[in-house]
Amino acid sequence: MKYLLIKELRLAASPLSYIFLVASLMTLLPGYPILMSAFFICFGIFHSFQSAREANDTLYTVLLPVKKRDFVRAKFIFTCLIQAAGFVLCAALTVLRMTLLADAGPYVSNALMNATPYYLTFVLLIFTAFNVLFVGGFFKTGYKIGIPFLIFGIAAFLLIVPAEILPHIPGLAFLHTPSGERLGLQLILLLGAAVIWGISTVLACRKAEERFEKIDL
């Protein structure tokens, strides 16, 4: 698996997967739907799948002395590594906004979502949607990326819109106060999302392994 990961990083990955980690900086933007950061991080990973497909990465890999399921696993692990890097950056910037920048005018008067654990919860849910719908969907065929990404895009939209609306419902404003309120509850939500991300990704990977094993290349 180690060698397959090296192969992912040195041959298959698109530089855009790393460059799009910069989208984490959107966490700092006031007056902007900051959950788009998670979408763009996933968009960067999508580019690796696209460039790998154009480079016949699948054929190269299955000719190596590896099992087809190892190829699937390596793609999921690569995806998770990029997502983990993106999440760490988003989390660090969230802490910055909630502490040193908590009283900054633009954040205090921000009509849209502020960066809080609630925001990070939805970052993880968007990552989950990507892993299940896009990466899992890709391995139905081993080459089609357009439709799985479209489905993921719709799912991301359906997560981002209610996530932005929810804090405007009476009684839920605490979800996006700049300095963070009821942090215990928010951290429980975040932990729950982390569990969902982990379990869903493992299940999606197993399903993808089964599907990919049956594909004729």
Binding site: R10, L11, A55, P65, V66, D216
Partner: protein, 246 residues
């Protein structure tokens, strides 16, 4: 010792059926897999390498069952679908550096020797290589891990006559080194230069699998022609006019 045993191979596609294909290959021999376009050569080779899943049949490579012992088998054989067509914008040395990690028997010295013999510049990318050079790169990767059996799908297609002759010479050289080669082609003159045995497929069925010399002499006696090309034309030629008239 048999390096390859294919028994009762069957694969059904919506518009094509490969049925009851059985043949075997002895160590140290070169076998040509021949047939017209669409005869089932690529499906057979891909089935052998577990790239497609046969509906029935069994495959043994170097005495081990495929796909049960896939990883172990792949350590000892090489597959190339003609010219390298992956990572076309990566330098050859990058592809080699990653590939070598997967093979227990990778030999840097052998790799360097083949690279020199094939005049491969490892600072180039596959995109910068000719078709013939990309086939050679593909062979270099397979040979650097001491593959005992090479399975090549149409390795000479698209090559100019000189590159083709060079490649066929390489096959003969490898045979002397004890490497067995199974390669598909529809260029029959290639086989007459370097194959010991042929396996002939037509419309998804096995016509024969036997030593080439015996097949040629038997068909010459029957009046089917003296060369493989003449035999194939005699066996398979269909009148387009008759088909259209039907």
């Amino acid at each position: 010792m048999k390096v390859l045993e294919v028994q009762g191979l069957r694969k059904q596609y919506p518009s094509f059926l490969l049925e009851d294909v059985s043949f075997s290959m002895e160590a140290g021999r070169n076998m040509g897999l021949i047939g017209r376009n669409g005869a089932g050569k690529t499906t057979t080779l891909k089935s052998i390498f577990n790239l497609v899943h046969p509906d029935a049949g069994s495959i043994r490579l170097l005495g081990a069952d495929m796909p049960a012992e896939e990883r172990k088998i792949k350590q000892r054989i090489g597959f190339a679908g003609g010219a390298v067509d992956y990572y076309k914008r990566k330098k050859l040395r990058e592809i080699v550096a990653v590939t070598k990690r997967f093979y227990e028997n990778w030999d840097d010295e052998i790799c360097r020797r083949y690279s020199t013999a094939f005049s491969l510049d490892d600072e180039k990318t596959p995109l910068q290589l000719s078709e013939g050079m990309r086939v050679k790169f593909s062979l270099m990767l397979a040979l650097s891990h001491h593959a005992e059996l090479l399975i090549l799908d149409e390795p000479t297609s698209g090559l100019d006559p000189v590159s083709r002759a060079e490649l066929l010479d390489t096959f003969l050289f490898l045979k002397e080194k004890g490497v067995s080669i199974l390669f598909s082609t529809h260029i029959t003159t290639d086989l007459e230069k370097c194959a010991d045995d042929i396996t002939y497929l037509a419309k998804g069925r096995l016509i024969t699998s036997e030593p080439l010399a015996g097949y040629l002499s038997a068909n010459a006696k029957k009046g089917n022609g003296a060369s493989l090309e003449e035999i194939m034309v005699s066996v398979e030629k269909e009148s387009l006019h008759e088909i259209l008239a039907d």
